[in-house]
């Protein structure tokens, strides 16, 4: 590695850090005031890039037209941000965090399909920025002028924002609202305008970042989730709600990545390490170090006490009626292959697998109180492990051993995650899942890259659809019953106790963190069982198996069914899997449809299907 090569990478990293800062600071700002983590923030950046692409083409190639297009794109995205705030988030400010996050994920799905419909699936590379298309000679190497522009922009925005928040009346109101929303409202500040204003600013910055990214990276449909994962890492490292924190964190991560690329390939003890492929791991290591030393990030403060308004519902052990219904349903499910066709068998197999996947997430989120936005990491990891193990081991052994890898990953990721709680924890699980996805996506030699692995077939005796369905049904049923059993074991009570009141749990001798860590690992292990079953049912696996949308599917199943019940997730898995199956067959835009369903669900049925059933009067006999 020469000094000049390193310098180029460093400047490139700093330029990337600037645009990462623009996006991250927008998320931090809107979170500070509204307390909603906007999952669609990455989608806003993606939208900025696409709008800029069209506007630049429309306004001609001149410098004036180009920069006007950039500014207009940012404004257009800001308008979209305000619309999202007005028509969706405003209805959800009093709702639990998890529902807010889920609703914004509905927006992610809709934006993705809107972009797909308007601009098509191809990557769109914009022209170079007029006036900044050349390069500057620094220490004998050519550095793009555009990189220097971006590097200057980061500190400039930091300065402007600090000025805005420190000195203007509006900025002082924003800071007051970040500190204490209720008090600010009580003093007569118009909350509606303040929130819309902050969203305008946050979306503006995201749109600007997207438009500015265009000469460096083509506009593409993967930007939204790739960006939001990085933004989550930045905010977790810098401290959610801190503007200087976002800046410093973006710089650290940008430089760490640049270092990896600059080092290139390095032989250590005869093993060639490819550092450019380790950029994601570098991010991970930065985050791990920061979280271990400062759980709330470099500039973050511990969040205020959890909302006391959170009503706890009594969780009752399954009684006799439930046992009878479950047994009847199982017998019915077991008899179905005698009548069903091949196609239905595939759907039934999927439902069994996803019922277990959803139940494992419910275990973690419901009784465990740990929301996860990256549960597919364990599902997919086990699927990959199963596919790889099946190359050397009998299929049956692969099926049994693979979930242990998922459990191991959950053990490692969980160690970090249980240090946080609530949205912070959810953001971290998402970041871990995205990192796992990227590894599967990039590590061609082992995982087959974007193509994935093929030829993952079950053993001879399981090769018929019917036999494999019976195996899946049996395994999923046993695993789900085991999860329920754990929920009502002493350990399960301890886990729920930590969720209900960490203070009280510790005061009776329960170690809150160790208990949650164990719960996290168990949830990962059971998701792994579902993942291994999945691999052999499909015959092939791709990175999609552990992608964020798959994590969100599980989340929607749990919320659709109802978080406060045992049967809810199973019910939710059955409904969502069938629904997706029919939507995919009827429309190209299934994502937007699912997104709309998710939003409607959050707005109108926050208790889920099981909640509706309960409200209709099918309640237990216990007095309440």
């Amino acid at each position: 590695m020469t000094l000049s090569a390193f310098l180029i990478q460093l400047l490139n990293g700093l330029a990337g850090a600037s645009s990462l800062f623009l996006v991250s600071v927008g998320l931090s700002l809107t979170f500070g005031v509204t307390r909603v983590v906007n999952f669609a923030h990455g989608s806003l950046m993606m939208l900025g890039a696409y709008i800029a692409y069209s506007l630049i083409a429309g306004l001609g190639g001149g410098a004036a037209g180009y920069w006007a297009a950039v500014a207009l794109s940012a404004l257009a995205v800001a308008g979209v941000g305000v619309l999202i705030e007005r028509f969706l988030l405003r209805r959800l400010y009093g709702a639990p965090e998890l529902l807010q996050l889920t609703a914004t994920f509905g927006v992610v799905l809709i934006v993705k399909d809107v972009v797909l419909a308007l601009w098509g699936p191809e990557d769109l590379l914009g022209p170079r920025a007029p006036g900044f298309s050349g390069s500057v000679n620094i220490l004998g190497s050519a550095v793009p002028q555009y990189d220097l522009l971006l590097i200057a922009l980061g500190p400039l925005v930091l300065f402007l924002l600090t000025w805005l928040l420190r000195t203007t009346r509006w900025g002082i109101l924003v800071r007051a609202a970040s500190e204490d929303r209720e008090m600010t409202a009580a003093l007569g500040v118009n909350q509606a305008w303040l929130f819309s204003g902050v969203f305008f600013l946050g979306a503006l910055l995201a749109g600007l970042a997207g438009a500015l990214q265009l000469p460096r990276e083509p506009a593409n449909l993967n930007m939204d989730l790739a960006v939001i994962a990085e933004v989550f890492v930045v905010t977790v490292v810098g401290g959610l709600g801190s503007i200087p924190g976002a800046f410093i964190a973006a710089l650290i991560i940008g430089v760490a990545k640049a270092l990896c690329i600059a080092i290139g390939e390095l032989a250590v003890f005869g093993v060639v390490l490819s550092f450019p492929k380790l950029t994601l791991v570098a991010e991970f290591i930065v985050m791990a170090i920061v979280l271990a030393l400062r759980p709330w990030g470099l500039f973050g403060r511990p969040p205020a006490l959890p909302r006391p308004s959170e009503q706890r519902e009594l969780l009752r052990p399954p009684g006799r009626p439930l046992h009878v219904i479950a047994a009847a349903a199982l017998i019915f499910m077991a008899l179905l292959p005698l009548f069903a066709d091949e196609y239905t068998l595939v759907l039934l197999t999927d439902i069994s697998i996803f019922a277990l996947f959803a139940a494992s997430l419910h275990f973690m989120m419901g009784p465990g109180g740990m929301p996860s936005f990256g549960h597919a990491a364990y599902f997919g990891l086990s699927a990959y492990a199963a596919a790889l193990l099946a190359r050397t081991l009998p299929m049956e052994s692969a099926l049994l051993i693979a979930p242990l890898f998922a459990g191991l990953a959950a053990l490692v990721y969980g160690w970090f995650c249980v240090r946080l709680s609530g949205v912070y924890l959810a953001m971290l699980t998402l970041a871990f899942a995205q990192i796992t996805w990227s590894i599967a996506f990039q590590w061609d030699a082992v995982t087959g890259g974007s193509n994935g692995l093929t030829g993952v077939w079950p053993a001879q005796w399981l090769s018929s659809r019917r036999a494999y369905y019976w195996l899946t049904l049996t395994a999923a049923a046993i695993a789900i019953l085991a999860l329920w059993r754990i929920i009502f074991s002493p350990f399960g009570y301890a886990l729920r106790g930590v969720r209900d009141s960490p203070l009280r749990a510790a005061a009776i001798g329960i170690d809150p963190r160790a208990t949650q860590w164990a719960g996290f690992t168990i949830a990962g292990l059971f998701a792994g069982i579902a993942g291994a079953l999945y691999a052999f049912s499909k015959g092939s696996i791709s990175p999609e198996t552990l992608s964020i949308p798959r994590s969100i599917d599980a989340l929607v199943m749990v919320l659709l069914g109802g978080l406060q019940t045992l049967v809810g997730p199973v019910l939710g898995a059955a409904v969502l899997t069938s629904l997706q199956d029919s939507i995919v067959r009827h429309t190209e835009f299934w994502r937007a449809t699912v997104g709309a369903v998710v939003i409607a669900l959050v707005l109108f049925f926050p208790d889920g299907l099981a909640g509706i059933v309960q409200r209709m009067g099918v309640r237990g006999r216990h007095p309440t």
């Binding site: 706890r312 052990p317 059993r485 009502f488 729920r496 009141s501 510790a506 005061a507 170690d511 309440t624």
Partner: protein, 255 residues
């Protein structure tokens, strides 16, 4: 310091930024003794309790419980050593019934918490009902703690705390938020149960009737410092206490 001291606090200091919440605080509690901590708001009472049960780390000083140092240990370890705690706002498990709350505390004592496949309902059901009986709320055993009245929650918390068989029970304002008649009843119950189990009691309280009726000794804190200590009669007539805390006109029994 007495031979039978269950808790010894030695020159404990804790400050938040520039505010000294505890300054060189030293005292001891004998086994089975009932000690009240009083002082105006901000005197450091709750900070003291949070340091004693491990929620906060002290800046300096030592805490010795049962002849072993417990300074710097996490709350769960201190709880397992035998220090119980109730909170100013009762902390219970809202998704569980009163009986399940007590059962969970019993699991902790018998180190069954790692049993992940056993059916929890089979364990400790009898003993948990007995504890609820002693706390006078056995009739509410199957009610969800999220729906119980405030006074009943305080009793559930008491049953939970006693389930851990503590040698020392820290009670942060055991009767706060209750009607006057309820206060006297609850405090008599606490004292009777503690005496029966041989539990030493360290409690803070704003109600002077409760303090002077039940405490063997009273510690008076002001701005993190111990300004007076002794039997209620001595503390009651301490001019310094009257000056900084009680104020002459409202002194109970002196009106």
């Amino acid at each position: 310091m007495s031979e039978s001291a269950v808790l010894i606090v030695d020159r404990l200091c804790k400050s938040y930024g520039g505010v000294h919440a505890l300054r060189e605080l030293s005292f001891s509690v004998n086994s089975g003794e009932k000690v009240a901590v009083i002082g105006p708001n901000g005197a450091g009472k709750t900070t003291l309790f949070n340091v004693l049960n491990g929620q906060l780390a002290a800046d300096a000083g030592a805490v010795v419980f049962d002849a072993a140092s417990i300074g710097g240990l996490p709350p769960q370890t201190i709880a397992r050593r035998g220090v119980g705690r109730t909170f100013q706002v009762p902390a219970t498990f809202g998704s569980m019934t009163a009986r399940e709350n007590v059962q969970l505390a019993l699991f902790g004592r018998h180190t069954q918490l790692r049993a992940a496949f056993a059916d929890a309902r089979a364990f400790e059901a009898k003993e948990s009902l007995a504890l609820l009986e002693r706390a006078g709320i056995v009739a509410l055993a199957d009610r969800s703690c999220a729906t119980l009245a405030y006074g009943d929650l305080k009793r559930v918390e008491l049953a939970i705390a006693l389930a851990c068989r503590p040698r020392l029970l820290l009670m942060d304002e055991p009767t706060a938020g209750l009607a006057p008649s309820e206060r006297a009843t609850l405090m008599s119950l606490v004292v009777a149960l503690a005496a029966n189990d041989g539990v030493a009691l360290l409690f803070t309280e704003h109600d002077m009737d409760v303090v002077f009726a039940h405490a063997d000794r009273v510690l008076v804190l002001n701005r993190g410092r111990l300004i007076s200590a002794g039997p209620p009669s001595v503390v009651r007539s301490d001019p310094q206490v009257r000056k900084v805390y009680l104020g002459p006109p409202t002194l109970p029994g002196n009106a």
